[in-house]
Amino acid sequence: MAEHPPSWAVFALPVLLAAVALVTAGADALLAAGARAGPARSPREAAARAAAPARGVLRELVRQPRRTRAADVALVRVGAALLPVAAMLAGVVLPLGFRSVSDLPEGVVWYNAMEALAWAAVWLAGWGPNSALSLIGGYRFLAQGLAYEVPHMLAITTAALGAESLRVGGVVDAQSGLWFAVWMPAAFGIHLLSALAMAFWGPFDRPAGRDVAGGAAAELSGVDRILLLGGRWLLLVVAAAMSVPLFLGGGHGPLLPGWAWTVVKTAAVLAFLLWARRRVPALRMERWTEAAWVVLTPLAVVQALVVAVVVLHR
């Protein structure tokens, strides 16, 4: 068990998460601009392309907020703000090296509970503006939740089962030898898929898809837009970072200190997700739900069974 972190860590966490989200979004913007207009001709141009998300935040700050006709403003406000707040609260159990802001005894459940708040957040933000396209976006996320959540819960339970602990620190300790990703590959893969799905990003971006003009975000401008779209990046970062302690051995690794291994592994997971999203089209839930229930859920159960048998004979 690691010692407690300094008390300022609580205030450093939101700043750190926001910074990582901004860097990740910048890398994605760089890739996107390269696809649309060819490779950058100068480092200066590349920097300007990567700065697009930061500029976007500044741009939304100076913009007027919108109220659509007969909108439920309170719901929009709450929904948009809930997403980043939930992502940060989930980040409490993320260890940097071997120390997290708070290594809760039920850390895995806490992460699951906070991440599930996205259901409420996106639906509220989609329902609130009284606009058909944004309503469709909000409901798309609920359908998506029904598809990804069960395999996701089974996957993180499998990691907890491997360590026989719901404490994230305990899961990391159990991986001082073999990483869980090696002997629970299905659970690891499912966790990465659900990281994309809960952040409604990449191949799971239909709740905020361009075909519904931005879906749940279609009617938002100003701070509400920053919160909802920034919140999804935060959620992506937290979920991707969570796969490091759960499956990739956390801070364990040779030579480098624990915190450095966490940083390297998190960056690798995020880079993989950024690459992977460019290789596949978006998954529509009316096709994906079937695959999630008929393939992923039984697969996750079998994976849990294998791990349970191994744990019994350890």
Binding site: L61, S102, P105, L312
Partner: protein
């Protein structure tokens, strides 16, 4: 002074929520037009005939029922992971029998076409 593992969580709620209010305040301070814009919903430029808020028909309604069963199951599974070795093989047999029954339900729902809706 730290009294509980949950204390930092409560403390974190403060900067997180304060950050939301700070952004709103900052925006109000710098943006050229403070009052919100009142406008209609966007559908491509034309106006709809009714309000969008309605009893939205979700075709995936049966999936929510299947989901609920698994969601309940997770309530048992989380505490279960901590006692597997302590209880022994019977814990594993019981849990996976339960999961097997639920999966049979999924197969039934699949055969009935509840997992596809267009």
């Amino acid at each position: 002074m730290r009294t509980s593992d949950w204390q930092p969580v409560l403390v974190l709620l403060v900067p997180a929520v304060a950050g939301v209010f700070l952004l709103h305040a900052l925006s109000a301070a710098v943006r050229p037009v403070r009052e919100p814009l009142r406008t209609g919903p966007f559908l491509g430029g034309l106006e709809p005939r009714e309000h969008a808020l309605s009893r939205f028909h979700v075709r995936w309604y049966p999936v929510t029922m299947v989901f609920l069963a698994f969601d309940m199951e997770m309530l048992f599974m989380y505490p279960w992971v901590r006692v597997v070795t302590a209880v022994g093989p019977s814990a594993v047999v019981e849990m996976f029998l339960f999961l097997g029954i639920l999966l049979a339900g999924v197969l039934y729902a699949w055969r009935e076409g509840a997992l596809r809706w267009t």
